[in-house]
Amino acid sequence: DVKVTQSSRYLVKRTGEKVFLECVQDMDHENMFWYRQDPGLGLRLIYFSYDVKMKEKGDIPEGYSVSREKKERFSLILESASTNQTSMYLCASSLGDRTKNIQYFGAGTRLSVL
């Protein structure tokens, strides 16, 4: 079974802090994604990556950056956390087949910024 592991289930940070959310997948997937999920808004894509050291902006990249130094790891960085970044963050991975793109999700990180 594919396993996507997010480093923290719950995280509490203060405004202005630099925050790292880590995601690791164990199935050698080429694609990795970061979403945020908010009530009434569904999932919104922040950033994605199709290969090591490669990144593409999603729908809401402002205030975020990402890093993919190794194929299995995709990090989401909040350079200076703000209260409007309080949300559930979901990481996903998929094989490189762009005709299918079945995504496997981690359990999520619920981030609170105070």
């Binding site: 996507v4 694609n31 994604f33 979403y35 009434g40 808004l41 569904g42 999932l43 919104r44 894509l45 994605f48 593409e56 999603g58 729908d59 559930m88 979901l90 996903a92 998929s94 762009r98 005709t99 299918k100 793109n101 079945i102 995504q103 496997y104 999700f105 981690g106 359990a107 999520g108 619920r110």
Partner: protein, 112 residues
Amino acid sequence: SQQGEEDPQALSIQEGENATMNCSYKTSINNLQWYRQNSGRGLVHLILIRSNEREKHSGRLRVTLDTSKKSSSLLITASRAADTASYFCATLPIGGADGLTFGKGTHLIIQP
């Protein structure tokens, strides 16, 4: 950008009944997928239907796709309490450069 829109937003039925959820989308797609999310957890892939397919089954799940109406439906037969979850449709646009686009979900509650 958000493309899929599920309908209804919430659905409450009795255990044993069938549950039907609908999804509409806007652009031409390569495939459409349904995912389930239990409260506070990640999403789990349920079923994929390609744009050249009209119906697909998996266990108690039945998915239909009407590309002329740009809509899909997910039917869960003989519902169980464990089916209580949020259900999302996701579309892979032709080209698929940006990956899947998810709807806002239908929250399904199965009353015992």
